[in-house]
């Protein structure tokens, strides 16, 4: 099992969720985060004082999947999130040791879906 973490642009969220649905990956956890990458941060000005920020709003999506869903999931994420501009984000894949469904106490592969 793998634990996939994707950081994407906020305005691509709708698209990404739709692509995931199309790939029959319905389970996910979404968080609002701030990111700092290659993309130039924004400049904000308050009472004439300029502040060069470097954190931008991003969306983090976490998805736990069985091995055979890893590639479809990555493809869906990429399809939905890619604009080709700096700031599109990253996908991180971690090993998932165990997964438990709280409601049923099912474990592992049964639990993940």
């Amino acid at each position: 099992m793998k634990y996939i973490v994707a950081i994407i642009q906020p305005h691509r969220l709708e698209q990404v969720l739709r692509e995931l649905d199309d790939s029959q990956i319905y389970l996910r956890t979404v968080t609002q985060v701030m990111g700092c990458g290659r993309q130039k941060g924004v400049t904000e000005v308050y009472r004439g004082n300029v502040e060069h920020g470097n954190l931008l709003k991003k969306i983090k999506i976490e998805i736990a999947v069985n091995e055979d869903f890893v590639e479809p999931c990555v493809q869906a994420l990429m399809k939905g999130a890619r604009t080709g501009k700096v700031g599109d984000g990253k996908i991180f894949i971690l090993d998932l040791h165990e997964c438990i469904r709280i409601r049923t106490e099912e474990r592992c592969d049964q639990a993940i879906g």
């Binding site: 305005h11 709708e14 609002q32 701030m34 924004v42 904000e44 000005v45 954190l55 709003k57 501009k85």
Partner: protein, 443 residues
């Protein structure tokens, strides 16, 4: 609880006291109203100044009402438009807007520029109030009318273009229409009735909003995604402030304090209540749940709907006008808009355009001289002619607004573009147009 009770005993006066009394009347009546030449009434002035302050508060109220319905990344850009309009049209109004609107009539079309600029002559009375009070009161109407339009183009219009558009639009559409209706222009002469701005404010902004929404095009996300209001409590607060200010808007339009103002106040309130209820009940029937945004939208529809009629009708008619306004606007925003597919972001046409039109028409139906002898009777009180006059006025307001808005925006699009770039729209207008964000996240 009347302080009259505090004056006790019988006052016996000889003739000298009588003389004294009479002279005191002359000496003191001045600050108290009754001044020589039948001029400034402190009571009317107090009421008008308060009303002016109330109407002024409506524009910040509108900014919050609108802002709450947008996405976080665009809330400041729309607020900015409202606040900027206050400053911009505030100055425009005293420089030339008031002159064009209320200056001596030129052929029924526009006020002459004799009164260009603002001078201390505003200390002189205009009817029972100082000229300044009247100028300010009317100025607040000019302001909010422009600010209303900003709702239709929210989340995508370039600020600089909106700025230029506002100035031109206010000068041509608002000032002309205001002159026609309230400044002694041809509609006034025709007997067209618009108590507090059904045509002047709501039709003009609503019709122009529709044109603007169509010309500028849809937001990238529309109509695939319903944009959820980022903060409905802000919209609720805005509704509260708008409603509060609307008492000044409508009841203040009596200019004097007294029965007429009280009637307009009552009609304003009851129309809003009826419209709020009706909207909620439609929501309840149609989608199974009464909604907060629904009651707010309904109340605003009712307030806009009763605006042209507030001082000419009975309270029962006001409730009917409000109820119909709610039905119309509900239909407008939830059926008409999706069907036609234009993206009037905050339903300026759907709410103000529709209920302004309806309300102005309704004057021709429900107006009665029993409510206001300076008004007229409508169709239901035996005078079909008034209905025709109202239709003429509505048509005039629509035509003027649509034509000018279309022309001005077409030109501005060529000259300086109406829309921000796609990337700016993605990032949001707050950051890209104003280098600010409404809220911090990490802290």
């Amino acid at each position: 609880m009347n302080e009259v009770f505090q004056v006790k005993g019988e006052v016996k006066m000889n003739r000298k006291v009588l003389w004294l009394a009479a002279s005191l009347v002359f000496l003191l009546a001045v600050p108290a109203g009754a001044d020589t030449g039948g001029t400034v009434s402190p009571a009317d002035t107090a009421w008008l100044l308060v009303s002016t302050a109330l109407v002024m508060l409506m524009t910040p109220g509108l900014a919050l009402f609108y802002g709450g319905m947008l996405r976080r990344k665009n809330v400041l850009s729309t607020i900015m438009q409202s606040f900027f309009i206050i400053c911009l049209i505030g100055v425009e109004w005293v420089l030339w807007g008031y002159a064009l609107s209320f200056g001596p009539d030129l052929g029924g079309v526009v006020g002459s520029l004799d009164r260009l600029g603002i001078s201390l002559s505003g200390l002189e009375p205009r009817d029972t109030v100082p000229g300044f009070a009247f100028i300010m009161f009317q100025g607040m109407f000019a302001i909010i009318t422009v600010a209303l339009i900003s709702g239709a183009v929210a989340e995508r219009m370039k600020f600089s273009t909106f700025f230029i558009f506002s100035l031109i639009w206010s000068t041509i559409v608002y000032n002309l229409l205001c002159h026609w209706v309230w400044g002694g222009g041809w509609l006034a002469k025709l007997g067209f009735l618009d108590f507090a701005g059904g045509a002047v404010v709501h039709i003009s902004s609503g019709a122009s909003a529709l044109v603007a929404a169509i010309l500028i095009g849809r937001r990238k996300c529309y109509p695939e995604k319903v944009v959820r209001p980022h903060n409905l409590t802000m919209t609720v607060l805005g509704t509260g402030l708008l409603w509060f200010g609307w008492f000044g808007f409508n009841a203040g339009s009596a200019i004097t304090s007294g029965s007429l103002a009280s009637l307009a106040f009552t009609n304003t309130f009851l129309s809003a209540c009826a419209a709020g209820l009706v909207w909620v009940f439609i929501d309840w029937t149609r989608i199974g749940k009464p909604t907060v945004l629904g009651i707010c939208s309904g109340a605003i529809a009712g307030l806009a709907g009763v605006t042209p009629a507030a001082g000419f009708i009975s309270p029962n008619s006001a409730m009917i006008i409000g109820a119909v306004a709610a039905i119309l606007c509900y239909y407008g925003v939830s059926v008409l808009k999706p069907r036609l597919g234009y993206d009037d972001t905050l339903d300026v046409f759907g709410i103000h355009g529709l209920s302004g039109t309806w309300g102005t028409l309704a004057v021709g139906l429900f107006a009665t001289k029993a409510a206001n002898s300076a008004g007229a009777d409508g169709l239901f009180f035996g005078n079909p002619r008034q209905l025709l006059i109202q239709i003429v006025g509505i048509a005039a307001a629509w035509v003027l607004s649509v034509v000018v808005t279309y022309g001005v925006l077409k030109i501005l699009d060529v000259v300086m573009k109406l829309r921000v770039s796609e990337e700016e729209e993605d990032i949001g207008l707050d950051l890209t147009q104003h280098s600010e964000s409404a809220y911090t996240i990490l802290e």
